[in-house]
């Protein structure tokens, strides 16, 4: 479902004398339907960078990223927009929403943009928020004022609202207590069971041992220091 081949990435810092930082070389990985692959590697090795390139908000220098039958590296913006609507989900570490929108609607939105009737979308959102222990009295409020852990859970509910065939999870269990961590892990297991291909970053070793089928060490894609790379 997700196939990354010979991917590389540079950052060019135009406002710091045009410094070019090579951050990734020859990245390869595959995620099959029903499989959860964990990205591992030291902080700064490029785990989030790789994930953002698959999501399409970081540009690749070369290589290919197939998600289904679309190559994200070559795709037009509108193809990536369509991919994100129906096929590829992403739970980032930050919740970014229009202030004032009620939590229930924030979670239901991915379903609404796909044309799901409002009552159905809201019922699904309510179900997820209950499972993630967000008290019902908060559903009509904007999540912008919630605590970090609550925002994280709203973000997860939103990411799991639509059954995406491919999912990217950036530290979905960080800042959660044991009970909520267990809920997130069972959501991941359920998504695998329905055939979703999942790529995740988990710092929590117990969590990753529980849901990941394999690991990919991003450190092996880190370019050699100055001069060693062609």
């Amino acid at each position: 479902m997700i196939r990354v081949s010979n991917l590389s990435k540079n950052f060019t810092l135009h406002n710091q004398g045009g410094t070019v930082l090579p951050v990734m070389r020859g990245a390869d990985l595959t995620v099959m339907p029903g499989e959860c692959v964990g990205l591992i590697g030291a902080s700064g090795a490029g785990k989030s960078t790789l994930m953002r390139m698959i999501w399409g908000n970081y540009l690749a220098a070369s290589g290919s990223i197939m998600v289904g039958d679309l190559d994200v590296v070559q795709a037009e913006p509108r193809q990536i927009i369509a991919l994100r609507r129906a096929t590829l989900g992403y739970v980032s570490q930050f919740l970014r929403v229009v202030p004032r929108v009620p939590t229930l609607d924030v979670v239901a939105e991915p379903l609404l943009v796909l044309g799901t009737p409002q009552d159905q979308a809201r019922a699904r959102a309510a179900d997820l928020l209950s499972r993630l222990n967000i008290p019902e009295r908060l559903w009509s409020l904007s999540p912008t004022t919630f605590s970090g852990g609550e925002q994280q859970r709203v973000n997860i509910a939103r990411g799991f609202a639509h059954p995406y065939p491919a999912l990217l999870l950036d530290e979905p269990t960080a800042s959660l207590d044991a009970a909520n961590r267990a809920v997130v892990l069972s959501l991941i297991q359920e998504a695998k069971a329905r055939g979703a291909a999942i790529l995740g970053i988990f710092h929590d070793e117990a969590a990753r041992a529980q849901v990941c089928d394999r690991f990919v060490d991003v450190g092996s894609f880190t370019p050699k220091p100055q001069g060693a790379a062609a």
Partner: protein, 264 residues
């Protein structure tokens, strides 16, 4: 992309090619080309004087560009708007387009009631039945969260945020396919901005609108726009998916723009 309007998704709603406007020896905007697809929101950002408002005015027919094509997918197929007769272009602007000005005073008739401001647009496209017009005006005031008992008040008695919402109702009541917006949240308090953003997002989704939004506010485009064009000195220096341009800017100017935003 929209479920509301069965439009051809393989044809851009608007195709702009080589659009150039000069002010004497100076460049307003130069060699602008892009496609806007049905249901898509395009943000145009850049600092004051970068040519973004000039571009918007050329697209909307308020300014005559010196060169280029603006091809709109009309009901009868793609047509270059710049080659149309004035009367025909005005008809298109009334039925298929809308323009939301930064200052609501430029887009409203201040001496006419709120209901009249909305109803007038319906009459301009042929509505004649008073009861229907009043009913639709009332419905739209509700959609933009203006209390129905204010229907007979003049906009001069409204707050800035209410005036802006009224301007949006006046523009969208006729069900346009393309909306041009010039700094729609400029000059409003942040709390009022949030409300307006929420409203605009809901309307874009429900009506399947395409929109072009000019702003200097990167937070606004992050939340509203699918795609972004960055302008500097009259030219497009970078374009792409909104989050890609903001999170991984490629051009020196965009990097400067993104890194200059104050974090709250």
């Amino acid at each position: 992309m929209t479920l509301m309007q069965p439009v051809a998704l393989d044809t851009p709603l608007l195709a702009v090619r080589g659009l150039t406007k000069r002010y004497g020896p100076r460049i307003g905007c130069a060699d602008i080309s892009f496609d806007l697809w049905p249901g898509e929101v395009l943000g145009i950002v850049g600092e004051s004087g970068s040519g973004k408002s000039t571009l918007l005015s050329c697209l909307a027919g308020h300014l005559r560009p010196d060169e280029g094509e603006v091809i709109f997918a009309t009901e009868d197929g793609p047509r270059d708007v710049l080659q149309m007769a004035e009367a025909e272009r005005r008809r298109l602007a009334r039925s298929d387009w809308a323009f939301v000005h930064q200052n609501p005073r430029d887009g409203l008739r201040m001496g006419v009631t709120a209901g009249g401001n909305v109803g007038e647009r319906l009459m301009a496209v042929g509505a004649r039945h008073y009861g229907d017009i009043r009913a639709r005006a009332t419905d739209w005031l509700g959609r933009v969260e203006i209390a129905v008992e204010r229907i007979d008040d003049r906009p001069s008695a409204f707050s800035g945020g209410m005036q802006q919402r009224l301007q949006i109702a006046r523009n969208l009541v006729t069900g346009p396919r393309l909306v041009f917006m010039d700094e729609p949240t400029g000059g409003l308090d942040v709390s009022v901005q949030a409300r307006l953003l929420d409203l605009l997002r809901g309307l874009v989704r429900e009506m399947g609108l395409s929109a072009i939004i000019v702003t200097h506010d990167l937070a606004v485009v992050r939340l509203l726009a699918d795609r972004l064009m960055v302008m500097k000195s009259g030219r497009v220096v970078e374009q792409g998916l909104t989050d890609q341009v903001l999170d991984d800017p490629q051009h020196a100017y965009t990097q400067l723009l993104v890194s200059s935003v104050l974090q709250v």
